[in-house]
Amino acid sequence: MSCTLGEVKNRADLIIYWGGNPAECHPRHFTKYTIMQKGKYVPNGRKGRTMVLVDIRETPSAKAADIFLQVRPGKDFEVLTLLRAIVKGQRIDPRAAAETGLTLEQLTDLADRMKRAKFGVLFFGMGLSMTRGKHMNSAAALTLAAELNAFTKFVAMPMRGHGNVTGADVVLRYTTGYPFGINLCRGYPRFNPGEFSSVDLLVRGDVDATLVLGADPGATMPQPAIDHLARTPTIVLDPKVTHTSRLARVHITTAATGITAPGTVYRMDEVPLPLRPPLKGPYPSDEEVLRRIIAAVRKKPAWEPDPAGVMAG
């Protein structure tokens, strides 16, 4: 259950950031979309909104918050689950609350605010989705937001990091039916995070060639994954010679998205926006290079999935 950032600007009177630091990572999120703007149904702007920050440490974003709740590391799932129980009016053992680093009063106050809000929004960052519990945490946050709709309008939205990672999700969804980690080696899409996620595939050594574009796994992935990228043929398309390019067999320099390459990208709320590149560069776009690779592959004998499955022969 989500919405656009324009709806947040015009309607949200309760804004919760969970496990994210927008002041440093998304500097204009506050001023352009969420807390600072005057909106159609929030005419008083900042005064008409309450901002709650939930995190394991007091980041610079806490200065912008009305309420800062410091959760003990690794206890986000427990806090979300307690909030779901309080929202439903179930009784809570104060000791369970104490374990999370928050008091029962703090949790009850937040649950009340969420139920009383006219339009609440929960933005969750990688501090929630990439720490202990991972997608279980995201699922708990989404469930809490969904359940709050029994009382008021409430939405949840992930704080996406990189430029067009949202666009990648959208395009993969409308072309294959799944958002990421899709295996096409049987000729039809299969989705199984953990089995077909890049890090797992590379660490296990399941793949025998990798095409990297718009990423630098050589700088960000765990060492065993990087070792496998170096061991097997890796191909990189990037505007710069990256860490991954240095361990790759093939690197092709491409135009920089939005600087010298035109196209479409999706904002974190899944609104597509056109790019207006200010410069003309000497390198071809990723799109063009991919088309040329596709044309070169098509000249080779067609690949067909083995009817006996990938385990055969």
Binding site: C25, H26, K32, G161, H162, N164, V165, T166, G167, A168, D169, V171, L172, T175, T176, F180, I182, L184, C185, P193, S197, S198, L201, V207, A209, T210, L213, G214, A215, P233, I235, P239, K240, V241, H251, I252, T253, T257, G258, I259, T260, P262, T264, M268, P274, L275, P278, L279, K280, P282, Y283, D286, E287, V289, L290, I294, A296, V297, K299, V310
Partner: protein
Amino acid sequence: MELTVTKNATCTFCGCVCDDIELHSDGERIKETKGACILGQSWFKNHTAERLYPAALVNGREATVDEAVEAAAEFLHAADMPLVYGLSNVTCEATREAVSLAELVGAVIDSHTSL
């Protein structure tokens, strides 16, 4: 020197994708970034239209794009289970082509989302 002004330029550094930036450029570099935040400023000023890198590298040596495309096609075609990974800072148009390529060679396709 006369600077070219690009109004309502779109910044792709973070997920906010602000599309209200005014850029002033001299054809090679972006000199001014009105409305951009500190991250957007360094993003726009960090990229130029100069030829700073070789067109392509194959096994660490400079190569033409044609040679590199041929080598890439050979590796991906020969692989039993290739992986197409990243897609975080490329356009949707490029991602569509990446999906076509992944389907053609029977690959796994994945983005930063799975990390």
